[in-house]
């Protein structure tokens, strides 16, 4: 019988069945369930597949490369903006190449359901000159993941699988195949492969350029790219990944009269694109995310108007695709549907009842009334909701770790009080180096680590910071007299305000750890954290 799986779960099952020895990842919507599935999988536990969370995406990808160096198959998983963090190793491991099959899974979030931008990871794949796979449905996710590991070892390159939110978070029945055994340890025949000093890097880079022809040929022959003939050549359609499903939805039983080129493997298969160009009067490009294919195949001035899509206004330049905006692009009549009655009001997400972040924001807001110049630099996590009413506590929110470094720059510019608010896991992900910078210059600023001992927004995964924050801050060099711990509870409000006020007024860097476990955690987890904190104090 078929197994009912999320796109993300189908990917994880595909990786297990491809014989991986480890997955390295940092949680991030919409990618989190991939690693969680492997963590919960009985067979993965029996096979001792590594699946603990990494500290950030860069450490994850580097560890994955280490496992690949040892000859084993490995996967690294992140959300789109996570790849920015890992971009250094990502670009360079395309040059070194891999040994054991290595697959980079990146989950993009068109329409920014849970993200700060809608960057399209295919640009990164092209930038690094590696093949990209973009599955269209759950069954294909499973198949393509197994294919990715074979392709990786065949080409000696890391392979990117690009997911999007709707595929990641949609379930369907998936037929599961056989599982491959794990690789044993074996090293590369070329002892210089992973030594990217210029003399070896030049060789490797030349090799990467040389195999681009093979890479394109693989796409031409890929089972996952399909040229579907049609009867009406007035238009040809290129549909990549999930866009293919939305396209088919618009025709009874998927009987589309136009020729279609379905793309699920890059680099783009040139011969097939040319065939579509030669036979059709115009080309409609359907792709979720950036106009990546459209830009590649349009001439710069697009004077002949042959290629249409997001760049020509036939589809919106921003936001995700769906069956309805594709219906419009196909020229079908706009449907008249019920309207949302005016009495319906918005219901944005909010912090949980009893959440410790709430008590912290209350204290910060009272202090803000005392001093109009106070600016609060926020970070990525549940506490980002402090941007919204009723709190309106946070002035900036850019990327993982930016709270501390932006507060530093603003303080250098003369803004006081400059307060950074960062979660415990975000702090260990990308905040520690920024804090070191502030310590080195003893910058006048206050860092508040809102420590709920979990990666809460993505589902309360374990945080690498749990029980370690005081030690880390001391180690970085924060003065012990200006390293404080408070408990964000309503009954402590007055004393917490006093404590924060004192530190804001200190002429140097201070750190306040606002510590109370996430209300979503189980009692077992809370007890475990209590234990960790006791060890840390003793």
């Amino acid at each position: 019988m078929k197994k009912l799986l999320l796109g993300n779960e189908a990917l994880a099952q595909g990786a297990i069945d491809a014989g991986i020895s480890g997955v390295y990842a940092y949680p991030g919507t919409p990618s989190t369930e991939i690693t969680e599935y492997i963590q919960k999988s009985k067979i993965a536990q029996e096979l001792k597949i590594h699946s603990n969370w990494s500290v950030n995406e860069k450490t994850a990808m580097e560890a994955a490369l280490g496992m690949s160096y040892a000859g084993k198959r490995v996967m690294t998983v992140m959300k789109h903006v996570g790849l920015n963090v890992a971009a250094d190793v990502f670009m360079n491991m395309a040059v070194s190449g891999i040994n054991g099959g290595l697959v980079v899974v990146v989950a993009d979030d068109p329409s920014m359901h849970s993200s700060q931008n809608e960057q399209d990871s295919r640009n990164y794949g092209k930038f690094a000159l590696i093949p990209i796979l973009e599955p269209s449905n759950q069954q294909e996710v499973y198949e393509i993941t197994k294919h990715a590991f074979n392709l990786s070892e065949q080409m000696g390159l890391p392979i990117m699988i690009r997911m999007v939110t709707r595929l990641a978070h949609s379930r369907a029945g998936v037929e599961i195949g056989k599982r491959k055994l794990q690789n044993s340890i074996h090293l590369s025949k070329n002892p210089h492969q992973f030594q990217l000093i210029p003399v070896h890097a030049r060789n490797r880079y030349q090799h990467l350029i040389n195999i681009q022809t093979d890479s394109r040929e693989n796409s031409e022959n890929s089972y996952f790219n399909k040229f579907i003939e049609g009867s009406d050549n007035s238009m040809g359609i290129i549909a990549s990944g999930i866009a293919f499903n939305y396209l088919m939805e618009n025709f009874e039983n998927g009987n589309c009269p136009y020729p279609i080129l379905k793309i699920s493997q890059y680099p783009l298969p040139k011969r097939q694109v040319k065939k579509l160009f030669d036979t059709c009067e115009k080309i409609l490009v359907l792709e979720d995310g950036y106009p990546f294919i459209e830009e590649l195949i349009s001439d710069f001035l697009n004077e002949n108007k042959k290629v249409i899509g997001r760049l020509t206004g036939h589809l919106s330049r921003v936001g995700e695709l769906n069956p309805d905006n594709i219906s419009k692009a196909l020229g079908f009549d706009i449907k008249h549907t019920e309207k949302i009655p005016e009495i319906v009001s918005g219901r944005p997400p909010e912090l949980c009842v009893g959440c410790g972040h709430r008590d912290l924001f209350n204290a910060i807001n009272i202090l803000g009334k005392e001093n109009d110049n106070q600016k609060v630099f926020g970070d990525i996590g549940c506490y980002a909701l402090g941007v919204l009413p009723p709190f309106n506590s946070i002035n900036t929110l850019i990327d993982m770790g930016a709270s501390i470094t932006m507060a530093k720059g603003a303080s250098d510019a003369g803004i006081h009080p400059a307060i950074a608010i960062i979660g415990d896991s975000t702090f260990t992900h990308s905040g520690m180096t920024g804090l070191l910078e502030a310590v080195v210059e003893n910058t006048k600023m206050t860092v508040i680590i809102s420590d709920n001992s979990a990666i809460a927004m993505t589902g309360a995964q374990d945080s690498s910071a749990s029980g370690r924050l005081v030690t880390i801050c001391k180690g970085i060099g924060v003065h012990p007299e200006h390293l404080k711990v408070l408990t964000p509870l309503h009954k402590n409000l007055e004393e917490n305000i006093d404590l924060i006020r004192n530190e804001i007024n200190y002429d140097g860097v201070s750190v306040i750890i606002s510590q109370r476990p996430c209300v979503q955690l189980s009692k077992e987890k809370k007890d475990n954290i209590k234990h960790l904190l006791e060890i840390a104090i003793n």
């Binding site: 709707r166 029945g173 309805d324 319906v344 997400p349």
Partner: protein, 199 residues
Amino acid sequence: MKINIILAGVGGQGILTNAAVLDTAALACNLNIKQSEVHGMSQRGGAVESHVRISDKEIFSDLIPLGKADMIISVEPMELLRYLPFLKKDGLLVTDSNPFLNITKYPDLEELYAEIQSYPNSILIDAQKIAKDLGNSRATNIVLLGAASSQLPLSDESLIQAIKTLFERKGAKIVTKNTEAFNAGKEIAKEIFLKNIVS
């Protein structure tokens, strides 16, 4: 055979559980399924929806097109109306009557109920009370699923079996409570359907 269902409510109200019951039942009947859901930020007390599509033919899109939903089942009355653009003409609306009040601008209840009842095919019930009277207020979502069940292309047996499968690990008592909730929802909907026919 093809049915499109939108499940609506607020994060934590059991929307994904209802989706899982439908999925499990459909899979056991060898039907095709696609079911999209919301994870991440919106789950924290925000509006949550799930699109469930069941068919004996291939299903392409994970999302239901506008005007193509056969029914909307909502655990919250205002959330029901948010997805009206998806409802096909004379589609079925099933909702609990209890508002989830975590926003300041909540509509007037009388006005809200009148709006819901202006649709010919609507079932507005106090599912929470029914569930509570049965001794498990957490089964509100299952009462609503029961209320919609006569319009589903899945047999009661398959749906109840799915409830058993999904709640099994929580113990026999929880299975019984949820099965009772399903049946109670079915009964009250039957009465409403009859009344609608008479009037």
